[in-house]
């Protein structure tokens, strides 16, 4: 029984990895990465590795999407500053 769950989760992880790569927009990618982290944590849980599942869950589903969003916010702030500087030049 556990073997089927593991095989199913492995297939889902493979699809999730493909989904993360194929999502080109970083904003949407943050959400897909969060789901991917959750799938990875479930997979590690079925591999009888609760320690790794805990850390994969917190990192993959919370910290990593957060850092993507923060980087995007900072990039957007730079764009605004740059546009404003260009408008003020002439």
């Amino acid at each position: 029984m556990l073997e089927f769950v593991q095989a199913g989760l492995l297939a889902l992880v493979a699809l999730g990895g493909l989904g993360v790569v194929l999502t080109r927009d970083p904003l949407r990618q943050a959400v897909v990465v969060s789901v991917y982290g959750l799938l990875l944590a479930l997979l590690f849980f079925t591999f009888q590795a609760p320690d790794v599942a805990l850390s994969a869950l917190v990192i993959g589903a919370v910290i990593l999407p957060l850092m993507i969003l923060l980087a995007l916010a900072k990039v957007r702030g730079h764009e605004i500053v740059r546009q404003h500087a260009e408008e003020q030049e002439p």
């Binding site: 320690d51 917190v58 919370v62 910290i63 923060l70 900072k74 605004i80 500053v81 500087a85």
Partner: protein, 260 residues
Amino acid sequence: MSVPARRLVFLVAAAGFAALFLWGLAGLPSFGNYQGPYGDILNRVAVPQRHVTDVVAAVNFDYRGVDTIGEEFILFVSVAGVAALLRTERAEIDVEPPEDERAIRRAETSDAVRAFCFALIAPTIVLGWDIVAHGHLTPGGGFQGGAILASGLVLIYLAGGYKTLRAVSPEEGADVAEAIGAGGFVVIGLAGLIAGAAFLQDIIPLGPVGLLYSAGTIPLINLSVGIEVAGGFLVILSEFLRQALQVRAQADARKDQEQA
């Protein structure tokens, strides 16, 4: 080389790499037939030797403790790198964004989000410290608990805004906490050297198995690693968030002047 040509080269190389990789992986024992001796030896020996019930924690902080010091310092150096890269912006000009952009950037968080996050702060922080403290007994430890504490700090930011986060954890405090955590691990190891044993050898009496104060130095190391990981993520969070505050403070000051 044009992009499609590069893609073609990559596909050929990836096919070759995948073939070699799978051929190499086929030499591994099949999934589910773990054969190596070390796992079995450790599972049998760790509980009587170290009085832990979580063997993974014993491996991380005792049997392979020097590896973990190395990993912890990779973390420390990465956080220092983020700070070095993003702190140079402090001297930069604070150009005022135009009015409509300012309105977008000052979009208020909805009350539902703030109330929900506020309600979750205390359980998250308690859970984080619980996982750090019980790392040698149940699955958990410094790394996982530190990451959960970091998410607790993120919840503080979500519920209260950047000023609340700064009030709770001043910037210098985050730096100091991270450094204490990183140094604490090494100090515990050096304490072993000073007491006449090997580096990172356990010198505190081991308590009975299964109680919170068992396992000698492992709970202390868990604590210092938890502080370090939480402090590290807090520094990273602060570095990424700082510019938002600068622009907003200038906008508020300008607006106060206009209203006065």
